[in-house]
């Protein structure tokens, strides 16, 4: 049990996907302008990460490793993620239109989100068991969502401030990320 907690905490806060590993940055600055968007994106990414972790683990351990072709993992994993995202999109579209309207536009973005491919590669290189992989994916996703949500809350307030002209928009967002990163740095040494 303590091993799962260690993995979760380590991926969620200490080695936070956005602030420390810089995974999923493109979507981070794109969708962290509004709190509601950040919430949907965070949930969607976490969901896809967990499903991708399970599927790639199964493929890795039932096909790639037995046949000794682990070096194929990059191409296989990205194809799995791409088709997975497509299936999730279709499924949500058929079953729940409200959910689709909330998530739909983010799903294609998730295919090229480094966080998803990142977690599958981390799981493979750390040789995690299936349970550990799921916990790692959850940790990574939760860490991603937390930072995205905090960031969007701050950026909503930032909209009301009046920074120097050349700092407006992205530069100030990067500075916010820096301060958040320093704050999260304090979590180091927890496990």
């Amino acid at each position: 049990m303590s091993r799962f907690i260690t993995i979760f905490v380590s991926l969620a806060v200490i080695n936070n996907f956005i602030l420390v590993r810089f995974l999923g940055l493109c979507s981070f600055f794109g969708v962290s302008k509004k709190l509601s968007d950040a919430l949907s994106m965070g949930l969607a990414v976490t969901l896809v990460m967990v499903v991708a972790a399970v599927v790639t683990w199964l493929i890795n351990h039932s096909v790639l490793i037995p046949f000794g072709v682990e070096y194929m993992n990059i191409i296989i994993f990205i194809l799995v993620i791409a088709s997975l995202v497509q299936m999730v999109e279709l499924y949500i579209k058929r079953t729940n239109m409200t959910l689709y309207n909330a998530f739909g536009i983010y799903l294609p973005l998730i295919t090229v989100n480094c966080a998803v491919l990142g977690i599958t590669l981390i799981n493979a290189s750390e040789n995690y068991s299936i349970a550990e992989s799921i916990v790692a994916a959850l940790g990574g996703g939760v860490g991603y969502a937390i930072v995205l949500i905090i960031m969007s809350g701050i950026r909503e307030k930032l909209e009301l401030t009046d920074p120097p002209k050349s700092m407006r928009g992205l530069p100030v967002a990067f500075l916010t990320a820096m301060l958040l990163g320093l704050a999260f740095f304090g979590f180091g040494g927890m496990v």
Binding site: L19, V20, R21, F22, L23, G24, L25, C26, F29, Y71, M72, I74, I75, I78, L79, A82, T111, V112, N113, C114, L117, G118, L121, I122, S125, P164, K165, S166, M167, R168, G169, L170, P171, V172, A173, F174, L175, A177, M178, L179, G181, L182, F185
Partner: protein, 203 residues
Amino acid sequence: MVRFWRELIKGVVISNPVFALVLGLCPTLAVSTSLDNALGMTAGVLFVLLGSNIIISLIRKAVPNIVRIPVFIVVIATFVTVINLLFHAYVPSLYESLGIYLPLIVVNCIVLGRAEAFASKNPISSSIADAIGITIGFALALIIISFFRALLGTGNISVLGRNLFSFPGLTKDPIVLFILPSGAFLVIALLLALFRWTGVMKE
């Protein structure tokens, strides 16, 4: 030929992938802790971008729209796997320090973005120019960022194991913040603001 140079320069300055378009941030920020990493990443991106741009430009007329993206992803992932194996075999120390950021070139927005926006619509020669220009632009950004991070964060600038110069005082008491992940955000924030302030780049 004029067109070749125009595409090349466009990639370096006007549509600099990092500073102007703010694309491909994960590798830019993650590997900018030393110039060696920056150069290694550049080599990786050049190989993948050049390869995928050439192949995609070659087959652009044969690929039907419905399988366009899957075909692009397969092509890009192939080149990434190849460079991954080559780095592992021939420059193991670089392979270690780039870690998962080397395979993550697959999902680098720059590479897929160029395939989709440029190579799939243009002939080979301009696709090559585009790949080279974009890579130079990417390399420039990466080198500038890692220069400041390494200099202020460690006090030393070294390339390929050779120490180019040390900043007196900083070597003993470096400003650790710059080499921390947060330092990457700080440097890119200040650089972007500087470019806008001096008018090199528009908002």
